[in-house]
Amino acid sequence: MSMVVEVDQLTLRYHDVTALDEVSCTLTGGKIYGLLGRNGSGKTSLLSVLAGYREHTDGQVRIGGLPVFDNAEVTSRVCLVRGSGDATQNSLKVADVLEFAAILRTSWDSDYAAELVELFSLPLNKTVGSLSHGRRSALGIVIGLASRTPLTMFDESYLGLDAPTRYKFYDAVLAEAMAQPRTIILSTHLIEEVSALFEEVLILDDGKLVLHEEAETLRASGCAVTGDAEVVDRFVDGLRVLGEKRLGRTKSAMVYGDLDAEQRAGASAAGLDLGPLALQDLFVHLTEPGDPS
């Protein structure tokens, strides 16, 4: 089961700060979305409005055709995990946190939660406050995934997790999205690490939505040109280069824009490799202060 998310001219202000400025987008659902943005770009604010944690100032937000704020019909089918999660209170034991989730969340899957607790090696009898930052984040992930809500959102839920545990999280998200298709929104700064999961990407900058596109289209919107540094420099001369990396004599340049057949043939003849565009480079380019695009 999935739900269409419709955001129309959404504005959210905190006193004199505009956190979201006339954001409009439609998420058709049943996909994994990547929500990207620099610090303070409005990612958490957008997710908080979608989860009904905050009431928006202006515009409209509808999920499954219904308004969200304080509407049990919608919020019972939405789960947002911010950081290590709002459902994890330091004074409670892990077992109590999961028990309360089973009582309060109608779609909760206790068997799946038990599987995830084992996967992330969470101690049920310890209090949340005694857990390491990484384990608290893992508990938040368990709450999000086992909620089995049609719209599940993770806002920087990887904080404190070591690399192997982060990969367990990504694998669990992918397995869950395939086994129980639902809309999953991942807000993250670790773009390259997660980008393979994204089916659509939204980029917020300074409270405005600057991009909403399918991940495949984005990756095809440019390419990585790799090879001998001098040859790469000659090839990309006159093209729009988003970023460069160099290791010894080998260089990789991220080029924005389509290459025609003649350019591709030229690259091949010069011994250059053409690969997909890295989303992270595109993201940095799009959110660069003062960038006219």
Partner: protein
Amino acid sequence: MTTRVAKRWPLLRVLLSAHLTFLALLWAMFTLLVLVVTSILVWTNADTDNIMHLLSVQAPRWLLFGLGLDAVSTYLRIHLSHGRTRREFTGQALAHAGILSGAAAFLITAGYAMEFGLRSLYAVFDWRSRAPELDPATLPQVFGTFWLSLLMWMVAGLVIGLGFFRSPAHGIFSIPVGIVIVLPSVISNRNAGMPFLGDWVVDLDLGPGEILAISAVILVASAGLLRRGVRGVPMRTSAE
């Protein structure tokens, strides 16, 4: 972990399972403490009146006030994070306050009832308690008075907790409101525990009927205030 889904009053179940267990454990320890303290006082022929008053009147009402704060600061966040609404919270939090204060009043009354047994025990050792003897017929009245008083203190905790959940400024402004809510119980106790209010509270000299009527009005107003206060309350991130 249970796979059964609680469809009705889920927050009430969560709150009761957390607070009732805590209350029962605390009562057991508290009762033991009172038994030991009063036995020592009776044995030494000291005056038990003040210490009994402090233990049975002051401690429970501050405890219930704290549990009211906790119901908001801990459980409103959990409630909302599991997709429940603010509207649901008000009704279930008030029902919880009614049940928990009733349970606390029952345990305190049970403590008073135990005193009858204690006096028989003291007689065996030829000890004599200097505390005024309670008439067993007044136990229902003791229960009713404690229930109402503790309910008001817990509702005050809910209101102040909600104020601070919204913002520190709202929290500070809600403190005088909380004092107004507990005022009937302060009046009925002849201003025990709140000397800063002054003697005018005692001078009012209100009867039980008047205190009951004022309490009922304040309770209804508090429920309305809670309902209005929780509407639109934002759930901030821990960084805010």
